[in-house]
């Protein structure tokens, strides 16, 4: 309350109790005659005073920055991700490529020390390099899935929402994908085509886009019959342009949210797939390190801890950041 009073005193027009000529002159520095005369009217000025300084993206950004936990996590994540490049550069390691790792009988399961900063694995390979390399790999592949899923999902979702004829087909596809555990399809694909991470990425995209699409479709329903779209139709704007210019821009926050959430989801899926043996062991990924650590962490916790901490950092970051962003992007929260 104190603070408010202070602000009042500072901000508001001084209350003029004395409206005698002297009083007025004291405050305004102008004579009575001057004060009580008409001034010229400027219509442009009137037009201008209404501007709101509100800018959507600026507010989004400002609100996002307010979510300290998300921002901190994001900064930490970025630092970690950038560091992962340093970590596997010659500055920190003697290895230049994953295939150059060496086993060392004496270093098996070594706990972290000055030679092996993250310790070593079951055959004495440097865990530091593996973890950081896998981090990059996983993040990049998760990003591919995120982007792929969203790109496909958005395109399909826009069509689904806008072209009424397609609704039935898309709904059926949705039911088909939704009502059967994805793992069935994933396993079949793994058996039929292979289980390299790329294949798994593509199949994850194939089975996840529909959720984004459904999300987008619901939003399209929300915006489709808004007056500005009717206006565009009156103006003869083509469907593609309407989707691109009128609808898509409104989806950006959702799109970013989906992308952000796709990353923890993909990494989670990666661990599950690895656990089920549906991931090729030749390609390093955090999921694989985690699943391998399952056997060993009881005796050598560092095998679990390092990848688990990094995985958690990544997933929590994107989860938080995604949600923080979507909160921030909601105009209702621009308070």
């Amino acid at each position: 309350m104190k603070k408010n009073k202070k602000m009042l005193a500072g901000e508001e027009t001084p209350v003029v109790n004395d409206i005698s000529a002297e009083g007025l002159a004291a405050v305004t520095g102008q004579s009575e005659a001057e004060l009580f005369s008409f001034v010229e009217y400027h219509p442009e000025e009137a037009e201008r005073i209404g501007y709101s300084e509100y800018s959507y993206w600026k507010s989004v950004w400002k609100n996002f920055l307010k979510k300290k936990s998300a921002v901190i996590m994001l900064v930490v994540f970025l630092a970690v991700f950038i560091f992962s490049f340093i970590a596997i550069s010659p500055l920190c390691t003697k290895y230049r490529h994953y295939t150059e790792l060496e086993s060392n009988k004496k270093a098996r399961f070594t706990t972290p020390n000055k030679d092996y900063w993250f310790g070593a694995d079951n055959i004495g390979r440097d865990y530091w390099y593996q973890v950081w390399y896998a981090t990059q790999h996983s993040v990049m592949l998760a990003a591919i899935v995120g982007v792929g899923e969203v790109v496909v999902g958005v395109i399909m979702g826009l069509l689904w929402g806008y072209v009424r004829k397609l609704d039935r087909i898309f709904t059926e596809i949705y039911n088909i994908i939704y009502s059967v555990p994805t793992i069935i399809y994933m396993t079949l694909i793994a058996l039929m085509i292979g289980k390299t991470f790329m294949i798994m990425c593509v199949s994850l995209i194939i089975f996840n886009w529909i959720y984004t699409a459904k999300n987008i479709r619901n939003l399209v329903f929300m915006y489709r019959d808004r007056e500005y779209n009717l206006a565009s139709r009156c103006l003869g704007t083509k469907l593609g342009t309407i989707l691109l210019k009128n609808i898509l821009p409104y989806m950006i926050s959702v799109i970013i949210l989906r992308m952000a959430l796709a990353i923890p989801q993909t990494i989670g899926m990666e661990t599950t797939l690895a656990y089920l043996g549906l991931l090729d062991v030749q390609e390093p990924a955090l999921g694989l390190l985690l699943r391998n650590s399952r056997e060993q962490f009881a005796n050598y916790p560092h095998i679990l801890i390092f990848p688990a901490v990094i995985v958690s950092l990544i997933t929590v970051t994107f989860y938080l950041a995604g949600n923080a962003f979507s909160d921030a992007a909601d105009p209702r929260n621009h308070v």
């Binding site: 408010n4 901000e11 027009t13 001034v39 442009e44 501007y51 007056e227 206006a231 009128n246």
Partner: protein, 667 residues
């Protein structure tokens, strides 16, 4: 002056309310004072953003979480309620002492609880009744607020009620608390005109029955004239003028009050410009120096920009916060429109205007023949437009008036080809434009017929720059050769609607409602159309801004030789702007006539009901007027089918033979 003897029931002094918004502080109420007398009806009028709602919410401690009272006091029953903090303290006030009816009846009821239980909740809380007694009382309350068959309705859910009925329930809930003060926050804005009148009636009745003090919050001067004993005008977080209804309507002194009143389309003279208030209300984030209205005031004094005026008494009951009343101020006359308010309101133009139907050379721009628009299929089938016929002639403004859901918008959209016509035909300059048409024809329609939309917030793409929005149509039809040319066209269109060229590079959210509506008009205009469907272009706008838009539309009509289909739900607005008026009810046009003819000789009972329900911003008339209620069951069409017939030249009405002869006899 009997009011003086009344007790002050609530007294607000110098109330300040601030909100923290996007990291900034917004001062929504800037030192507002008000004495409320017991048993009176006070109306607080103002545009959106004037702080009228926020101010009254402070009486209930219902400010949003980011807002707080930062100064002043509100004395109620010997206690400064502005200092109350906890829910518990406030609960002593809420409901039982002060209660409130909110604007939107569709959202104010819990959709998952039975009506009865919701009313009962109030009764149990505040009347100490329980069980069967409470139920009895709840049913009684439902009966009192005019819900037919209250015992059955008691067990129903909100979605089974229409908007008007829901508002009655909300009122029942508020009144069942037996409050001393009832705040009605735009209680009728969301309702149709005919329902609105009934609700106002109801509240008045309840006030007498329960002896409540009522605060109305509204932007509609018609409502004010209807209900209020005293009127407070708010602008930019301050009450700028307060007095009895007569004081404010007939003898206003604040320039803003003047502007507000004179901008009413009802007061306009056909063919003349309405007086307008340019610009928009100030941004409350900024520091306001002097009189907040000064920048928009065409006759501002220098001191208005420097110092905030104090209240000057006009009479014992009437105060205004303007330097005009300072004896040192130059002499200023009240505008003529204010002085002649009552004459203007009831002016009959009938004889002075020419009758378009007498013009033999008139050409139809749009011809609608047996138009039928149906949505859905099977059981969900809904006939929105049912066999509608009319012609719109070149250069005229044809108004289509009806309640929500009457199908008026659907007709507009059928003409612009947004909704396809199910049956019937539509012609544009003699060429058929309904059904499947060629690509060239389609382009012709796009060019020739444009639309202006109701909601300036929803009708502009928020994520596109103004230049793109305006040029969208010409881009589609490639109506320019170079980008520079396109930009020039955009600039020209902006200028034409009175906006600054620099606006082209901005985004819609930076503009006020009126400005946005003008952007919408520019967007249509740039296509050089011949015919414009204006779908309630002013109903979502504040009073002060309506005039700007109406003037603009009228001006463009002459400069561009436009023809309008003007869709509205409010007959009073339409009278000013339109040449001919069609009244539509549930998909059928029931009466069509030249504007003045319709006002003079309304024959169809629905038209008559509509006319009687128009809130008239003249307290003298408004208080005396008698409300007609339209009951569609009064028509007996079981034997004799209604036909569309011309009972006078240019005056059509829907009715069967018996009704028609009755109508004729009334002329």
């Amino acid at each position: 002056m009997e009011k003086q003897e009344r007790n002050v029931i609530l007294s607000a002094k110098d109330v300040f309310v601030q909100f923290s918004l996007r990291g900034d502080r917004l001062t929504a109420i800037r030192g507002c004072s008000l004495d409320l007398y017991e048993g009176e009806t006070l109306a607080i009028v103002g545009e959106s953003g004037s702080g009228k709602s926020v101010f009254t919410k402070t009486f209930l401690g219902m400010l949003d979480a980011n807002g707080s009272i930062t100064g002043g006091s509100i004395m109620f029953e010997g206690e400064d309620i502005s200092k109350l903090k906890t829910e518990k303290e406030w609960r002593k006030i809420r409901g039982g002492k002060i209660s409130m009816v909110m604007q939107d009846p569709m959202t104010s009821l819990n959709p998952l609880k039975r009506i009865g239980a919701q009313v009962e909740e109030s009764i149990k809380l505040h009347q100490g009744l329980s069980g069967a007694e409470a139920k009895k009382e709840a049913i009684r309350m439902l009966d009192i607020v005019g819900i037919p068959d209250p015992e059955r309705r008691y067990n129903q859910y909100p979605h089974e009620f229409s908007g008007g009925m829901r508002q009655r329930v909300v009122i029942a809930i508020a009144v069942a608390c037996h409050p001393r003060i009832l705040i009605c926050d735009e209680p009728t804005t969301a309702l149709d005109v005919t329902i609105q009148a009934q609700i106002l009636d109801l509240i008045r009745r309840l006030q007498e029955q329960f002896g409540m003090t009522i605060i109305y919050i509204t932007h509609d001067l018609g409502v004010v004239a209807n209900v209020a004993e005293r009127v407070a005008v708010m602008y930019a977080g301050q009450i700028v003028e307060i007095g009895t209804a007569e004081d404010v309507f007939y003898n206003a002194w604040h320039p803003y009050s003047w502007a507000l009143l004179s901008a009413l389309p009802q007061l306009g003279i056909k063919g003349e410009k309405l007086p307008t208030i340019d610009g928009t209300p100030p941004n409350l984030f900024n520091k306001i120096t002097g009189d907040a209205f000064a920048p928009r005031n065409k006759q501002a004094l220098a001191i208005d920009f420097k110092l905030e005026p104090p209240f000057f008494n006009v009479s014992e009951t009437h105060m205004a916060k303007t330097w005009y009343l300072d004896p040192r101020a130059p002499k200023i006359e009240q505008p003529t429109s204010i002085k002649q308010l009552s004459e203007r309101m009831n002016m009959d133009y009938g004889d002075t205007l020419k009758h378009p139907h007498e013009d033999p050379n008139r050409v139809p721009v749009i011809t609608v023949k047996d138009l039928n628009v149906t949505f859905g299929a099977g059981r969900k089938k809904f006939v929105a437009v049912d066999k509608v016929n009319f012609e719109i002639y070149k250069g005229e403004t044809f108004a289509l008036v009806g309640e929500s859901g009457s199908g008026k918008t659907t007709i507009g959209r059928a003409i612009t080809r947004i909704n396809p016509a199910t049956e019937g035909e539509i012609f544009f300059k003699g060429e058929k434009i309904s059904g499947k048409i060629s690509k060239e024809m389609d382009q012709k329609v796009v060019r020739g017929i444009q639309m202006i939309f109701q909601d300036p917030l929803a009708s502009l793409n928020e994520r596109a720059k103004v230049s793109y929005i305006i040029s969208e149509g010409i881009r589609n039809l490639k109506m320019y050769s170079t980008d520079e040319e396109r930009e020039e066209m955009v600039q020209a269109a902006l200028k034409e609607v009175g906006l600054l060229p620099e606006f082209a590079s901005r985004f819609p959210h930076e503009f006020s409602g009126g400005q946005r509506q003008r952007i919408g008009i520019a967007r249509a205009l740039i296509m050089k159309p011949e015919f414009i469907v204006a779908d309630e272009p002013i109903s979502a706008l504040d009073v002060s801004i309506r005039a700007q838009v109406l003037n603009l539309l009228n001006e463009l009509k002459t400069t561009h030789g436009l023809t309008y289909l003007f869709i509205a739900h409010d007959l009073s607005v339409v009278r000013f702007i339109s040449d001919r008026i069609a009244v539509i009810y549930k998909g059928k046009i029931v009466e069509l006539a030249e504007a003045e003819e319709l006002f003079r000789h309304p024959v169809h009972p629905y038209t008559r009901a509509l006319l009687s329900a128009i809130p008239n911003p003249d307290p003298a008339i408004e208080r005396k007027k008698k409300l007609l209620v339209y009951d569609p069951t009064q028509h007996d069409y079981s034997v004799d089918q209604p036909i569309w017939s011309e009972i006078l030249p240019g005056h059509f009405v829907l009715g069967n033979e018996r009704e028609l002869s009755d109508y004729r006899s009334r002329l």
